[in-house]
Amino acid sequence: MTPRDENRTLPADVTLADEELEREASRLDAVWQTKRGLWGWLTTVDHKEIGRRYLVTTFLMFIAGGIEAAFMRTQLMRPGNTLLGPDKYNQLFTTHGTTMMFLFAVPIMTAMGIYFVPLMVGARSIAFPRLNAFGYWTYVVAVVFLYVSLFANTAPDVGWFAYVPLSGPQYSPGHRVDVWAQVVTFTEIAALVAAVNIIVTVFKMRAPGMSLNRVPLFVWAQLVVSFMIVFAMPSVATGSTLMLATDRAINMHWFNPAEGGDALLWQHIFWFFGHPEVYIIFLPALGFITPIVETFSRRKVFGYTALVMSNITTAFFSFGLWVHHMFATPIPELGQSLFTAASMLIAIPTGIQIFCWLATIWSGRPELRTPMLFVLGFFFTFVNGGITGVMLASVAFDKQAHDTFFVVAHLHYVLIGGGVMPLFGAFYFWFPKITGRMLSETMGKVNFWLFVIGVNVAFFPMHVLGLNGMPRRVYTYLPETGWGPLNLVATLGAYAIAVSVVVFIANVIRSLRRAPDAGPNPWDSSGLEWAVSSPPPPYNFVHTPIATSRHPLWDTAIDLPVITGLRSDRREVLLTTAFDARPESRHYHPADSIWPVYLAGCMAVVFIGSIFSPYFVLGGLGLSLIGLAGWGWTGAQDRERERVQVHQSIVDTA
């Protein structure tokens, strides 16, 4: 059965009457609504509820990491400053890196995916809602654990890369590094379940008619990145959980040179994850850019296929570059040149994407609203970071710049320019969808200008500092090095960034206090997420829409064709075929459940406990058995009404 056949059977001009829709909506509400109160809050599996929490928590982490950065910048403001000693400074810069990479950048991108992918593909929910909730709670454990440790003077102090042997048992006594290893473990679990969730949602739950060549680029980016997560995150999980933690806890010798272990093994394992990580942060951000550019250039994006292809090739290349983080280590020259070539190659797909957007803007009708401004800020900042990236790919030059402030400048240009600026654009763009309220344009422009100026003032001088020989991760420096003035400038820039973030927060608070004013589609944008009310109802779509093109809302002027017939007396979602999205089956959608949060608690006992005693591990696993049983425990809901399809034959079990 395809939409087209149905179009023949049903007269094209019939549309659903409003009161009929309302009746259906109220029925769905009764079924999909999350319970009120603490219990409902703990048990909800609504992907929008979870996604919103994810967004808030990750943004809090952004602020926390920012505060740490402010402390560090203040310490480095002048030579020989004594605000922070080496011990505190090392804890702060490690927590800053860990927070920004593991607790902010990656999860906030997946959070956007968790919230918007189902809406954009026209699904009522995400593929594995309980797993989704479990992932969020695991992430919360990581957040709480790291920050409790920070205040307990137990924050990791060996850098977010935790090189052995410095992070090994002999040179990092106490439990600081164990905290790091377990925080990483939790975030890996969260990232992996989110990735699987998004992959399956995209493959099996797209609206009828949304064949792969009609999938929005936002969703494409999320899909590609989810695949990257599946192949990158296990690497660091292996390193931190199965090697570093065991080295520290039960005297394994993975990294003990005297017993055949190898310090470089860690660097390979870590960077095999660590380099794709950058693109895991960066590609979803590119996914935000396309709809913003389309909407504010008032035209469909130029070079859709090229953009999709660049996404995929970037993902592939990004796994072949990790050694360019290790050019100063004893690695054969030839190997190094190969990685240089790969590192430069990856600039091409990124370039293609930028050219395509420029072409879109060029041939469109640009409107400089705040989201668009942030995209322009992205061009201004990220291109710079990309070029320094190509420079760093050169072995010879990298031998000078490696581990200096030049790299600090480069990575912040890439991650802030390529990640945070599109993210702010996305906030302004989709905030109305999430809350039903617009953000103030004026405050948005203040926010933008402060931010873009702050970023460039803060990080541009660091290029020079690096070339003038200032190494990274130093808690202070001597006056005679002459690094003082530029560091002062950088610090002032950092303060400007802080102010701009405060402006943003004020903007959010201001608009949250106002009455909803957005309406379903304030920007007159083209994606399916704009077809539903803002904020969307718990079931997303009363009737699953049919995607007739890449820009459903632009191409179907008035009537939106929909698929009816999904049951409204129980949670049910529509599954379609993986490639051309033909309706395939109706899938039972699980009810709210306490077990996700319970199991996350068990994970906390297992992994945090493993630092102290193996008995915690056994205990935690024992407890989780209850959780697994509860999770799997399902009665025979209306068995007789199921329609079963084995292979091709449909069997009624009535």
Binding site: P330, I361, L376
Partner: protein, 318 residues
Amino acid sequence: MQIQSALDAASLQARSIEHLWWWMFGVGGAIWLAVIAAMFFALRAARGRRGSDDLQHVPAESHKGLERVVSGAVIITVLVLTAFLVADYGVGRALAAHPSRALTIEVIGHQWWWEVQYDDTNPSRRLVTANEIHIPTGEQVQLKLSAADVIHSFWVPNLQGKRDLIPGYTTTHWIKADKPGTYRGQCAEFCGLQHAKMALHVVAESPSQFRAWFAQASTPNNPPSDSTSLYGQRVFLTAGCSVCHTIGGTTAQATIGPSLTHFKSRATIAAGTLANTRENVEGWIANPQAIKPGTRMPAVPLKPAELTALVSYLETLK
């Protein structure tokens, strides 16, 4: 002393890298300007036709044009990258070139100081010093790098790129100074509490001066003459200094801390942290933690008289 900088090259290697940098900087800057210019032009005005649906529709021919422009830009990118690759490879070759045999110096990284040993077939003539490397100008010197505890990185920007010192590995590195001078370097791989204060100096001298220094450095000092320094020596040998430090010609032969045999001949103390002046040395011995929190040098409890005597003894170790 030279400000440490990769843009103030004092050797073939550093200079070729510096040239590579300026070249890449020029090209990269041009590309950046081009993109930003394109961006502003793109913003200048609405192009294409405004359709009934309020969207811009691009006529086929100008779409063709866009395609041509974009693919042109991509081709340029590819060409530039290829150029970068070639340039990098060339410089890499230049850096790799080195003579078959040369003066070999072992550098061992410790938390948080540098041990320096001049190789010699005769172990007794093996010269051991710390935090200061003397090299003759105009010739390539081979460094054998290894680490005693955690990973460090040897980096003297004016002379050469950096190389990691990794436990379990011995890596080789080549440096060469064209003109005499003192070049500052600093540990470039995070190595713990005092990573920030783990510096070293490379002193490049004319070959003759170098030979003179080497001869002088290889001979133990003659024992102290005046009573104060004699007292100071006794303090050194009894108050615990000798547990970690070596002073040639005395019973102090421990290798846990830097060798102090020719202490006074070095320009700095505490791994390039302080100038080697009497006040600094006294302050350092009295309370190292105030200067380098976390350093392994303990605050040895000494009476004022003992301290001054000890320092005046150290002053004699030229």
